[in-house]
Symmetry: C2
Subunit: 202 residues, 2 copies
């Protein structure tokens, strides 16, 4: 039981946060979201449950904050203004996200759990999917402004295309997303979206 004076309660030590983040990821890989317990995370991180609750209100908030902090910036690709290059970068970032050691196991487990727990599905949409999609949406919007995509481009479908193909291939089919495959996905998506310039490879 913590007996520290209240003055210390607001100070969140970064190294403790880092240990907790690593513990959350490890527990998600080993036990999955459904069986993840705050007690086990605290023990693994070498801290107390109260250290967790000082940071997050509970398990769902903690897990999503940890995953969003890593997942959302990964979707923010450096834009060159060349649609093919930018779409290729988006494809590569999606593949890198899903191939990264913890995520290959964590994401499909989280999706499965979201079908048992509607509140979790909503929270994933708000903390991870929407901000990730916002990055891609602004990239696509600027391509429309430049005239590289038709003005009537369906942005929802455009945002889905690359992500869907890479998720299906790497997560569902467990096939690799090699550079050649990422080129192919990019070209396929640009054709589907009726991009006006579909091949700008140097």
């Amino acid at each position: 039981m913590p007996t520290h004076p209240p003055s210390g309660a607001a100070v969140l030590q970064p190294e403790v946060t880092a240990s907790i983040v690593a513990a959350v990821l490890a527990e998600l890989v080993e036990r999955g979201y459904g069986r993840l317990a705050m007690e086990a995370v605290a023990k693994r991180a070498g801290t107390s449950k109260s250290a967790l609750y000082r940071r997050w209100s509970g398990k769902q908030e903690m897990v999503l904050a940890v995953l969003a902090d890593i997942s959302v910036p990964m979707a923010d690709v450096v834009e060159t203004g060349d649609l093919r290059r930018d779409m290729r970068a988006a494809a590569e970032s999606m593949a890198a996200w899903l191939a990264a050691e913890p995520y290959a196991k964590i994401i499909p487990d989280l999706i499965a759990e979201a079908h048992r727990t509607p509140a979790l599905a909503e929270a994933i949409a708000v903390s991870i999917a929407k901000p990730r999609r916002a990055h891609l949406r602004s990239l696509l919007t600027r391509a429309i402004d430049r005239g590289d995509l038709p003005a009537d481009t369906d942005l929802e479908m455009a945002q889905d295309l690359v992500a869907a193909l890479i998720y299906w291939r790497t997560v569902v089919r467990q096939a690799p997303a090699e550079p050649h495959y990422l080129d192919h996905v990019t070209d396929t998506a640009l054709r589907a979206l009726r991009a006006t310039r579909t091949d700008t490879r140097a």
Copy 2:
């Protein structure tokens, strides 16, 4: 302990099989693949564990046989020879499969489990994915023969496109696949595949 004479051992009663199939699906929905136990399936089906082992060698074989028996025929769409109609039918059958009451919960759980258990991933590929893809592959091959798709069509990508978009939308994003969306997926896929006739709607 079964004390029936051996003469009865080879007879598999269809109504017992049907009860077991229903029990397997219910247990997969409620507990998921990881926690599914032969004992619980037998109890739920009102039969004995030996009735299960007379039919399948174990849990993995049982679950995949039950799922394949339903999932594989669903991918065998009635072909009209009109590529757009056939792709639309393939899209609808994929959406119907994933929207069917038990599958919406069972498939994402199975995919998550496959990332923990490599042997399960291989068994899913062999019993479900490959035969489902074979149906689509022959449909696409005949479209190439008719000249409705280019001779150099990448069949792997062509098989992935519709399935990937519908899986991403319905399973990952939990958005509905309405008829209008299925039309849109079909048109998008046909454009991506450079179909020579992309709009044959009556």
